[in-house]
């Protein structure tokens, strides 16, 4: 029997070493694991989900590396169906005994639950569009590569009498899904991320980028941008809370609109917890807002199939301010008399599905043009600790952070103390005056999306903090 150790050795010989000595599996190796599980399982139907992660992250603060980590993980998750009952068990061990144990656990869990007439037969083989998101340069990145980039960024900060903190991560992931009806799909991608905060005595700046291709990241440029924001926001003045015109850079937009993603789930509307309940087909945002879920967009990442192996479809969610479509898993689609869109989560779950690859329509205005067009307003680099205050009006609260500026007479007039906001998201998306080009944005509150910068009127800052 093939052992995991020998599988990995074979992969190493087959292609260039992956991330920092880590190793990925071939399709045939993953398929063999799945077939071993199918042979051992006496369930009516069996699904196998394999995830391989190989990640490394270099973390720096106070102009030096202080944490530096790497991980290699593999999980095998088995879902069984017995007489209309289904459950899942997961292990990270590939030995015969572990696989038998995880199958037995999955079956025991399934038998324990009441029969559910909504459990569907597993889908058969599907056709998938190919996406190419694996970059050798990312897979081959070493701790020394990351350390040298960090050293350069720390040197920049020191030259400017500033302090740098951040991360530089590189990695690869694989996911494979197969079931006993013959469905098989797999996906491999690399990922790289650089994030930097530059600190001064009473100010800070931040920049971050994320790409499957490490060569597309420019740590020194990001650090220079963060450095300028820190120096430009020195001696922050305090402004009174109130309603302001704001210019939200793409990460700030991302971390706000990211809170909408689950509202577009069919299950969320069916459960009446979506802000779109009773609002589908109505003009609830400005006409300049259009939104898709599109895993195939060139700036998006992710597998072209969902948690059951159904092909993901491109879905237009909002057309000129009107929510038109939701996404559906197979079960939800049947319940709501719709067609599945390939957005289901791994079963069993109570959440159904969600669009995970949001793409907003952009515009033509640069941030500089937005600033130039603003008599008095606030430029926001980044938002922080965003939480939902009112789920139906979609009121969110949170703070500005790491570069908040007053705009006067079309120019940046200096840094200001950070604000707390309490802002309805649908209201905000009804007040968008200008849009920038849509870019791949990365923040901390939402997963990456393709969003534009936005100029928004009447944004509600409710309080101000002490820095």
């Amino acid at each position: 029997m093939t052992t995991r150790k020998s599988r990995r050795r074979a992969v190493t010989a087959r292609k260039a070493p992956a991330v920092a000595g880590a190793h990925l599996l071939s399709d045939s190796e993953m398929r063999r694991i799945a077939e071993r599980v199918f042979k051992m399982s006496d369930a009516d139907e069996t699904e196998v989900h394999i995830d391989v992660t190989s990640d490394a992250l270099t973390r720096f603060a106070n102009n030096a590396i202080h944490q530096n980590v790497a991980e290699q993980t593999l999980t095998i998750s088995v879902r069984t169906v017995l007489d209309g009952r289904t459950a899942r068990a997961t292990t990270n061990q590939t030995g015969e005994e572990s696989l038998q144990r995880v199958i037995a656990a999955s079956c025991a869990l399934a038998r324990s639950r009441p029969k559910n007439p909504r459990v569907l037969p597993m889908p058969g083989p599907q056709q998938y569009s190919r996406v190419q998101r694996f970059f050798d340069a990312t897979a081959a990145a070493t701790p020394a590569d990351r350390a040298r980039a960090v050293r350069e960024v720390c040197a920049l900060a020191e030259r400017n009498s500033q302090t740098a903190a951040g991360i530089f991560s590189t990695g690869a992931m694989q996911t494979m899904l197969a079931n006993s009806r013959g469905l098989f799909c797999s996906y491999t991608q690399t990922r790289a991320e650089f994030s930097v905060t530059i600190l001064e005595k009473d100010s800070s700046g931040w920049a971050k980028a994320n790409s499957p291709n490490v060569s597309a990241l420019k740590p020194a440029e990001l650090a220079a941008r963060a450095s300028q924001k820190a120096s430009g926001s020195r001696n922050p003045r305090e402004l009174p809370p109130g309603r302001y015109t704001v210019i939200l850079e793409p990460p700030a937009v991302l971390d706000l609109v990211g809170f909408l993603f689950y509202d577009f789930a069919g299950t969320s509307v069916h459960d009446q917890r979506s802000c779109l309940t009773k609002r589908m087909g109505r003009q609830v945002m400005a006409q300049n807002i259009s939104l898709w879920d599109d895993v195939y967009h060139p700036l998006q990442l992710g597998a072209p199939f969902d948690g059951e192996g159904m092909p993901r479809q491109k879905v237009q969610l909002v057309n000129r301010g009107v929510p038109e479509n939701l996404v559906y898993s197979r079960v939800t689609a049947k319940q709501m008399k719709k067609k599945p869109t390939g957005h289901g989560f791994a079963l069993p779950n109570e959440w159904g599905e969600a669009p995970m690859n949001l793409v907003f329509a952009g515009g033509n205005s640069s941030v500089e043009e937005m600033i130039a067009s603003t008599d008095r307003g606030i430029l926001v680099t980044r938002l922080w600790y965003i939480r939902e205050v009112d789920p139906y009006e979609k009121v969110l609260t949170g703070m500005t952070r790491d570069g908040t500026f007053l705009i006067e007479n079309g120019r940046v007039a200096g840094g200001i103390r950070n604000f707390r906001f309490n802002q309805g998201l649908l209201e905000m998306l009804s007040n968008v005056e200008l849009l920038g080009p849509a870019v791949r944005a990365t923040g901390e509150e939402a997963f990456e999306m393709v969003v534009p910068a936005m100029k928004v009127r009447n944004f509600h800052f409710s309080e101000v903090t002490k820095f």
Binding site: K5, R8, A20, F60, A61, N62, N63, A64, I65, H66, Q67, N68, V69, A70, E71, Q72, T73, L74, R88, A89, T90, Q93, R101, S106, L109, R113, P114, N116, R118, P143, A144, A147, R148, C154, G166, S169, T197, L199, S204, G242, D271, Q272, N349, E350, W384, R387, V389, D390, Y392, E393, V395, M399, R401, N418, R420, N422, S462, E463, T465, F467
Partner: protein, 486 residues
């Protein structure tokens, strides 16, 4: 497992590490949930692996693997050393750690009923029955229940000679009723929001929560909130029940006292802290009656921050954080303790799993009880708003300015609990808030709450923390800003 740890330490030493520790962990988890009468999540997970931390060339490296063979562990240890040597390319000084003795010990969290031995059917029957009880109330549009159980076994070994074996059993569960009417979604949860109560106990926790008794009340309140008056805006007195106060402690005391934040190590993500070093033993954090400890010892209670030893082999301790209102202590590890001249770590290094580096985390950060009986406090209060069960929470990245809203409020008039209020919220500045505390209820009203979802670190780690609290009163608090229509 000890063989794995020994192979890791031997390899690290042979490759040039001046210090190494290894954590092998075996984690078992069971998750169950229901929604509107149907079973939702039904899953078990096992994860076994080893994480190896080293100092080489004066810098840190960490690597982890689930390849639990001699070859796999040795390769992982070698990788950790190589990473440490890369870290040295961008170091400012060599890592220095506060001294710690070697410990050889075994510790197990006590429990009465192993939740993994309780039949699944019994666990699901309880959740489905609570789900049904909530849906009996007209107007409930969504009934949800959940349970989660976790058993974690650790084998810790370090190059200073420690060998520590620990086993922890965690249990948690809760129920929630949601009601959508008109243009409003209202929700009530028991015993707390976001998954309920979580402790270092067995299934006896679930039995003690008595979901079936509370389900009808939770459902009725969720529906009744639609007809309740809006919580007024203004400045006034608030009473916080212990669950909400637990989260207030977590956000406005627990995080700012983390010494890695204070020293800038979390500046890029979790943020920093207003508790700069000169404030230790000088800052009036709260009023005279405010006493907060960080206590990981079992005698504090079965909290999610209770253990025998932390994840760098330092014994559980109790640290005074706020004593009679004065700020007196940080959460530290061996490295940050040395950095500010402390003689010893306060023992707060914790890791989510074998594949994560231990970092400074809250243990049980608790507000010690006062002397008030709750009914006496109500009677003494005059006019106020009582707020229960967290609904949203947010605080800035230095932990000054916060805003919380709760699921339900009650108007207190003339010392009596009167009408229900919907959408209550309050906000403020941390030290002003704690200095406005003028009454804390007694031990009989004190609960050690579990917060199972505290995120920190890069890569992100989710950790369980404990927060003991009794209801307390705060004066001159800003109320209602979250729902202001200005």
């Amino acid at each position: 497992m000890w063989d794995l740890a020994n192979w890791a330490l031997d390899t690290a030493r042979a490759r040039g590490a001046s210090f190494a520790d290894a954590r092998a962990m075996d984690i078992r988890q069971r998750d169950l949930s229901t929604k509107n009468g149907e079973v939702g999540t039904l899953a078990e997970n096992e994860s076994i692996g080893i994480g190896i931390r080293v100092i080489a060339s004066g810098a840190w490296g960490f690597a982890s693997t689930d390849r639990l063979t001699r070859e796999g562990v040795q390769a992982c240890a070698a990788q950790a050393v190589a990473i440490a040597k890369a870290s040295a390319l961008a170091k400012r000084h060599n890592v220095v750690m506060a001294p710690e003795q070697a410990h050889v010990d075994t510790w197990q969290s006590p429990f009465i009923k192993d939740p993994f031995q309780i039949p699944l059917e019994r666990q699901l029957d309880l959740l489905l029955a609570a789900d049904q009880e909530m849906r009996r109330v007209a107007g409930v549009t969504l009934a949800e229940t959940s349970m989660q159980f976790r058993r974690i076994e650790y084998w810790f070994a370090s190059s200073i000679g420690s060998r520590i074996h620990q086993v922890k059993m965690q249990s948690g569960g809760g129920i929630t009723a949601t009601s959508f009417q008109g243009d409003e979604i209202q929700k009530r949860s028991y015993p707390n929001s976001f998954g309920g109560q979580h402790t270092l106990q067995g299934y006896e926790l679930i039995e003690s929560l008595d979901f079936l008794r509370h389900a009808p009340r939770v459902a009725e309140e969720a529906v009744a909130l639609h007809q309740a008056a809006q919580c007024p805006e203004g400045t006034g007195t608030i009473l916080l029940e212990s669950g909400q106060l637990g989260l207030q402690i977590h956000e406005s005391v627990g995080h700012p006292i983390e010494l890695d934040r204070v020293l800038g190590q979390e500046a890029n993500f979790a943020g920093m802290s207003f508790l700069t070093l000169e404030k230790l033993n000088t800052l009036r954090y709260g009023s005279e009656i405010v006493n907060v400890v960080a206590d990981a010892r079992l005698e504090h209670g079965p909290g999610l921050g209770t253990f025998g030893y932390d994840d760098e082999g330092v014994p559980a301790q109790c640290t005074d954080i706020i004593k009679n209102g004065l700020f007196t202590g940080y959460l530290s590890n061996r490295e940050t303790a040395a950095a500010i001249g402390l003689s010893r770590s306060s023992g707060t290094m914790r890791t989510e799993s074998w594949n994560r580096l231990p970092i400074i985390r809250m243990t049980n950060v608790s507000l010690l009880p006062g002397a008030w009986k709750f009914d006496d406090l109500l009677a003494d209060t005059g006019d106020a708003i009582l707020m229960e069960t967290n609904r949203s929470w947010s605080i800035d990245d230095r932990r000054y300015h916060f805003q919380f809203s709760t699921e339900i409020g009650w108007e207190i008039k003339g010392g009596k609990k009167t009408r229900m209020l919907k959408n209550p919220s309050y906000s403020g500045i941390t030290t002003e808030f704690w200095n406005s505390c003028d009454a804390i209820c007694s031990r009989e009203h004190w609960t050690l709450w579990g917060t199972p979802n505290c995120g920190k670190g890069q890569p992100m780690q989710t950790m369980g923390t404990g927060h003991g609290a009794a209801p307390a009163r705060f004066r001159n608090i800003k109320i209602g800003a979250a729902f202001s229509k200005v």
